[in-house]
């Protein structure tokens, strides 16, 4: 919810749509009642070169969305090269052996389509939405840049400046964003999730054309990717086009993603950022948590429900206690982000009322968490939380974006399509005891970073 871990080539669209999934990982994806069997009902096949293909038919409007997901992201960079995965994402728009720099997006615009891309720790994804009869045009272009990227300093260097401006816009202009970056660095003692996806300023400045091309050759291959097509199209048509355009791309050796692990975390950390540009203080805490793919899977479902019941909306426990009843905060939220290959995060964010102090807030949060752990949540509260979450799945079917996003993210973070399709059922199955177990296991201060965003002059 409050992370900026997903970056896109061009601002608003994907970042906004993905911010939701950052908060409720598969939730942007999910489905309804336990009885309903499937969410997106995708069809799947694999080409001989290892490219996995997913088709989500939706004949409501004559439009299609093509997405290609690569299993590579910021956590796969070498130390000292932070920002490379995201920089390369920008450079994929800079031409191939046969397509001029910028031509990709110009062609998409000329056929009335929209395109963009985004990068996170575990994945990089590219997508276009076009009229259904233009699918072939964008498939041809996307397949081309899977293997034929051609870069020169002439286009790479101005783009590096663009990324530096992106970093200034997203992070350096904003004390809150600067603090989030420092918090990540403190939360991860050893794992590369601690670095910013966009990269550190000095390291972005040092990235060269050669670094980008080497990273591209190492990670961009059909057997390290998933193609997803959603919309007014049939499986047969996608198969025919995919075989024609993606089929000839040779498979190549791709290394397993083995990243440094976190040592046992033994000390609660606090991070404070004071700035004259902060006028309203805020308090946050983020706990290291298991992810869906690295941890006891059942725990992750329980943690989703915990986040919802604890701080997922205006009837949630923390909002009710801190904002409505005690009236000391203007906002209170909890979130769980489990859609990652290696580690998840569980977070709390509370903003005091104007004039209030974070010290008072911290004491109140501590007290309320203890109370929640002691008293538990009512069956009605848990049922309501599950209802809201599972209903996301029905809402997610309104439009083309949610399916490819959820399935692609699952693929890149070690989950299966079945995990996406069954998410609502598994959420429905979470019991009150499991929610409490999850709370007890994750709310361990020794594995957390508490952060204070403060005005310059006082605490």
């Amino acid at each position: 919810m409050f992370t900026e871990s997903v970056l896109s080539l061009f601002g608003w669209f994907s970042v906004r749509s993905l911010r939701r999934s950052a908060a409720l990982p598969l939730a942007a994806a999910v489905l309804c009642s336990p009885a309903a069997a499937a969410v997106f009902s995708p069809k799947t096949f694999t080409l001989d070169n290892g490219l996995r293909v997913v088709v989500i038919e939706n004949h409501r409007a004559p439009a299609v969305m093509q997405m290609v997901w690569y299993r590579v992201g910021a956590a796969d960079e070498e130390p000292g090269e932070s920002g490379l995965a995201h920089f390369l994402e920008h450079l994929l728009f800079k031409g191939t052996k046969t397509v001029a720099p910028g031509e990709f997006s110009r062609v998409v615009a000329r056929i009335g389509g929209r395109d963009n891309a985004f990068t996170s720790y575990d994945y990089t994804a590219y997508y276009q939405t076009v009229a259904a009869h233009e699918l072939e045009t964008v498939m041809k272009l996307e397949a081309d840049r899977m293997q034929n990227l051609a870069l020169t300093d002439k286009v790479v260097l101005p783009e590096r400046d663009v990324v530096l401006e992106e970093r200034r816009s997203r992070t350096d202009n904003s004390p809150a964003a600067q603090l989030r970056e420092q918090v990540r660095r403190s939360l991860y003692l050893n794992h590369p999730y601690g670095r910013p996806v966009i990269g550190w300023m000095s390291e972005i400045q040092a990235l060269k054309t050669g670094n980008a091309l080497a990273f591209y050759r190492k990670h961009y291959a059909p057997n390290n990717a998933m193609l997803i097509v959603a919309g007014d199209v049939t499986e047969e048509k996608v198969r025919e086009l995919a075989e024609r355009y993606y089929g000839p791309i040779p498979r190549q050796e791709v290394l397993d993603r083995v990243r440094p692990k976190e040592p046992p975390q033994r000390a609660a950390r606090t991070v404070t950022l004071r700035s004259e540009r902060v006028s309203l203080p805020s308090w946050s805490r983020v706990y290291l948590a298991p992810s869906y793919s690295n941890g006891e899977r059942q725990r992750s479902y329980a943690m989703e429900v915990l986040a919802q019941v604890l701080g997922g909306g205006s009837t949630s426990f923390l909002y009710r206690r801190l904002v409505v009843e005690r009236g000391i905060a203007s906002g209170a939220a909890a979130w769980y982000s489990g859609d990652a290959l290696d580690y998840g995060e569980f977070g709390l964010h509370v903003t005091p009322k104007a004039g209030g102090s974070v010290i008072e807030i911290e004491a109140a949060v501590t007290e309320e968490l203890q109370r929640a752990l002691k008293e538990g949540f009512s069956a009605e509260d848990i049922a309501r939380a599950k209802k809201v979450m599972t209903a996301e799945a029905i809402y997610a079917r309104d439009g083309l974006r949610a399916g490819p996003n959820a399935i692609g993210q699952a693929f890149a973070t070690g989950l299966t399509i079945e995990d996406v399709e069954q998410w609502p059922e598994r959420i429905s199955a979470v019991s009150a005891e499991q929610v409490m177990e999850a709370a007890k296991s994750v709310l361990d201060e020794r594995q957390s970073v508490t952060s204070y965003l403060l005005p310059e002059d006082r605490k």
């Binding site: 409007a61 009335g112 076009v130 009229a131 590096r160 104007a354």
Partner: protein, 447 residues
């Protein structure tokens, strides 16, 4: 049941307009039915069973933040925040719980000109969903607890905005361009005005503005037509037939040629720029829309994108837009550049602005802009939620029920000659009102 059951086929033959047939995407497959309920309420409806959802959007025309009384700025927004914080017999928590129990999504929004509402529900929960929506709209409680809570949240938000460079820039730009007009006033209010707002103000806002004379409704989803008209009557029927009238004067944008700098210790200079634009009902609207798209339209290709971002690496984001309002119109834009190169960025933007007026656009640019406009439009209508909003938007701008059909022809009818004449009229580089927040080098403030 249904007084009017006029059917329109929107799957028309828009591609017939020759030359760009191959480039144009097919029309949105939307069959818009203009219904009139037994109670006399007009509803535009698209019956769509592809998803088990019902999306309802509505507007009270001319009941937006521009009608906030002086000294009560922020009233429209506060009302919007409070409608679902307790209604009928349900207090705030009870109302929110009831909404979550059926996972209905209810929201209200105060625009500058209009007051907007949205409700989306899972079709099987529609009984309760329509009932909750009706309560929020017609029997909001405005209890003390939620009023004070929302007041505190608004004040906290204002405090946060006070140090947010883009909010500072937008506010000052609006202030400069709209001077003493209501459009200049902050929609979320000021600390003093928010403190002043009372329960009577909130009750009065609703009583004076929520009425059937201002109402426009769009519905998309999985519900039968005869059932829908009954539900619409139940939903809006209790509203007064006539409401008070509010006079918002016309205003021609002010501050032409001004450059204002707000010094802040941040690494970038955030720029807002613009001047008088063109109204939605102007006969030159489509030409203006296309030339603005060519200069700085969204997406990954435009002249500004090319010159500022691609060639020079000056910014991550740069854009231009048209903003037609009921009582004024502006063309504006924005970007953010490192302080040291802020002057260079602004120069490039000014020079592109000037070039549009003096040299115009090419035949190819026009052709591609049309292809984009026609191809991308249906992509914006792919969900029930988006389509319901569009149905209301079309009514607010009075574009006609066949607008989705007609639009490609309106776009395609723009000639190069017209586009260049309109560019000459629209883009006035020397008139740009520029607000810069940051520590820019190479930009001189005007006095």
């Amino acid at each position: 049941m249904i007084a009017v059951r006029m059917r329109r086929t929107v799957r028309a033959t828009l591609v017939a307009v020759a030359a760009f047939a191959a480039l144009a995407a097919p029309a949105a497959a939307a069959d818009i039915r203009p219904l009139v309920t037994p109670g006399g309420i007009k509803v535009w409806f698209v019956h769509d069973k592809s998803v088990p959802l019902i999306a309802v959007s509505f507007a009270f025309k001319g009941a937006g933040a521009a009608t906030d009384p002086a000294g009560r700025e922020g009233l429209a927004e506060m009302t919007a925040s409070l409608l679902d914080e307790g209604a009928g017999d349900l207090d705030s928590q009870a109302f929110q719980r009831a909404s979550e129990d059926i996972a209905v999504r209810i929201s209200f929004d105060a625009g500058t000109d209009n007051f907007l509402g949205r409700m989306t529900t899972i079709a099987t929960e529609r009984d309760r969903a329509f009932e909750l929506y009706r309560l929020a709209l017609t029997q909001p409680r405005f209890d003390a607890e939620p009023i004070e809570r929302v007041r505190a949240q608004t004040l906290a938000g204002l405090k946060q905005e006070a140090e947010n460079p883009s909010a500072i820039g937008r506010k000052l730009w609006r202030n400069t361009v709209f001077s003493h007009h209501p459009y200049a006033r902050p929609a979320s209010g000021t600390e003093a005005s928010i403190q002043n707002i009372s329960r009577e103000d909130l009750v009065g806002f609703v009583a004076d503005r929520f009425g059937r004379d201002r109402l426009m409704v769009g519905v998309v989803g999985d519900i039968a037509e005869d059932e829908l008209v009954q539900r619409i009557d139940a939903l809006f029927g209790a509203l007064p037939a006539k409401t008070k009238s509010f006079k918002v004067p016309e205003i021609a944008p002010q501050g032409a040629g001004k450059t204002i700098i707000v010094r802040k210790p941040i690494p970038q200079s955030l720029m807002s720029f613009g001047h008088a634009g063109i109204k939605r009902d102007d006969p030159d609207w489509y030409a203006a829309y296309l030339v603005t798209r060519i200069l700085g339209g969204g997406g990954l290709s435009s002249r500004l994108y090319e010159e500022v971002r691609e060639k020079r690496g000056l910014a991550y984001s740069v854009y231009a837009y048209l903003n037609p309002m009921d009582h004024s119109a502006v063309i504006g834009g924005g970007t953010a550049t490192q302080n040291a190169r802020a002057g260079e960025s602004l120069e490039v933007i000014r020079s592109e602005w000037r070039k549009m007026a003096e040299k115009g656009i090419t035949e190819d640019e026009l052709r591609y802009a049309k292809a984009y406009a026609n191809g991308s439009f249906p992509l914006r209508l792919g969900s029930s939620r988006e389509l319901a909003d569009m149905l209301v938007g079309i009514q607010l701008s009075d574009l006609g029920i066949d607008y989705i059909d007609k639009r490609p022809q309106l776009i395609d009818a723009v000639t190069l000659e017209q586009a260049n004449r309109v560019a000459g009229r629209l883009f006035r580089a020397d008139d740009l009102t520029v607000v810069v927040v940051g520590d820019p080098k190479g930009i001189v403030e005007t006095k």
